[in-house]
């Protein structure tokens, strides 16, 4: 008898808990997103909306070489950054997945890059990669090699941005993958090494399947994060030389707030958003169950 009465007690106030978050996110993300969509179909003058222009902004953006340049830069950056950070991180994780003195200390050091502000990181690497008198080029000079135009050559500038990004995010892949490896059951490995399987075979048939959900999660989180890049090239190369390191987010900033063309900026933002949504769709399909 009593019991039946208490079930509603347990259910009491359930909306009270969840509503603040939902309302907050509706106001502060869904509403601005819809506003972005609205702006992308309208013209503007001096940061004021003028009239409905249909797809004009999109047509303008898609026929603008600066958009396609930023598109190329962003995609190149995302692909290389994800490959390098996850690849190196996995390599390090495999290397350190053993009983060893100092692993804890090593992990401690690994967390520091993760919490360095990307803008600060940009300036850090600017000092290091500075072409005339920076330590790297001075070092190369001492070895008798030629100086590398780290920041003034379009290709090298993108490499520099990538180096800084790899510095920051490899530890992320490393720490997460190491956690996944250490959670893997030991006896599987022991059985395999008794069967005298080679290192590669163990990796291919035991390790990889075990960590593949985590690997997938890491890859997608890194991809989504890499699509957002702005601070780092802003600080390190200011998008240059020319347009060489201008990412899509950089374009949203320059067209919207420097040139004050809201329609073009928001149309670019919508296209970027669609790209990220496509990636995160894969994520939620395949790895959503990790969050149950």
């Amino acid at each position: 008898m009593n019991r039946k009465k208490r079930v509603p007690l347990k259910e009491q106030g359930k909306h009270f808990f969840i509503f603040p978050a939902i309302i907050w996110l509706l106001v502060f993300t869904i509403f601005p997103l819809l506003y972005t969509l609205y702006l992308s179909f309208h013209g503007s003058r001096f940061l004021r909306v003028t009239k409905f222009v249909g797809l004009e902004n999109y047509i303008y953006v898609l026929s603008d070489y600066r958009f396609w340049n930023a598109f190329r830069v962003t995609i190149t950056f995302v692909v290389l950054s994800v490959l390098l950070t996850v690849g190196l991180g996995l390599l390090l994780a495999l290397l350190f997945n053993r009983q060893m003195k100092g692993v804890q200390f090593f992990r401690t050091i690994c967390t520091t890059p993760l919490f360095t502000a990307p803008v600060a990181l940009g300036y850090m690497f600017m000092i290091i990669l500075y072409e005339e008198g920076g330590p790297v080029n001075n070092f190369l000079h001492a070895l008798g090699a030629n100086a590398i135009p780290w920041l003034s050559h379009p290709r090298w500038a993108l490499v520099s941005v990538l180096i800084a990004d790899v510095w920051q995010w490899t530890p992320f892949a490393f720490l997460v993958l190491l956690a996944a490896l250490q959670a893997a059951p030991r006896d599987l490995y022991e059985a395999a090494s008794l069967d005298s399987a080679s290192g590669w075979e163990i990796f291919r048939h035991i390790t990889l399947p075990l960590i593949s959900p985590t690997l997938g999660t890491v890859i997608i989180l890194r991809t989504v994060e890499a699509f957002k890049v702005f601070d780092l090239p802003f600080a390190l190369t200011n998008g240059g030389p020319g347009l060489a390191t201008r990412t899509l987010t950089f374009n949203v900033y320059t067209s919207g707030l420097r040139d004050q063309n809201l329609g073009v900026a928001t149309a670019t933002a919508v296209i970027l958003l669609l790209m990220v949504l496509a990636v995160s769709q894969i994520f939620f399909r395949r790895y959503g169950s990790n969050y149950d």
Binding site: I18, F28, F106, T108, T112, L175, T217, L257, S280
Partner: protein, 281 residues
Amino acid sequence: MRKKRRWTNIILWIAVIVAVVWMLFPFYWAVITSIKKPADVFRLSFIPFVQFEPTSENWRSELQMRGQEIKRGLKNSLIIGVCSALVALFIGALAGYGLARYKYHRVKNRDITMWILSQRFLPPAAVVIPFFLIFKTLGLIDSVVGLVLINATFGIPFAVLVTRDAFRDLPEEIEESALVDGCSRFQVFSRIALPLAAPALVAAGIICFAFAWNEFLFAFIMSYSKAVPMTVLIAGTQDTQGIQFWYVATRMLMAVVPPTILALTVQRYIVQGLTFGAVKG
């Protein structure tokens, strides 16, 4: 066999040394740049006292000439970081508790979680223009309040996911018996669940704080004088007479040190935190 093991050990230690040097070098270089005389900055020298004469002149003149600005920058970063972390944590913990303890019917728990998580995936560039326009209308440009609101928004999905997992790990029995004893759900939440989940909550709060402290895009667009935080302050160093690396280094270090030191205290939660709970560290 033994010989092989020795070789792997050697390779391992080389890898450790290379990785440690690689990770610490930028910090080290920033530190020694900040204590070099301008004339020494462009020379290849690593060891203070041996290769070059260190000086505190850069720090002193930086703090003297731009002390006010830096103090304000640190204060703004601190306010933005702390307040946005608290807001995100408060709203996030409520939702996290709800998702951990109740079953929602009209929309399933899983769909709510996914929806909240998906907010974290949005590129900030997708909302930066509307935020700018709305804040301009509301008079929130160059206001710390505006930046707190924005950073709290970015922190909420993270806080929800992490606190949900923390509450889930708590035994439900204590809370149930408290309910039977006549406590309201909110009392159970605030007096029993919150204190028990405190370590995870503090960790989530610190990570939110670090995100907010490091945020740049919005801070750069929404602040120009009285609300300028450290990240924007370091970005402004270029304008004066070329780039004076020795000053850049001092300011950069002041911006980098607080969040990194804080993050060291919550290492245990970092893996779980940065994957939004998908991987338990």
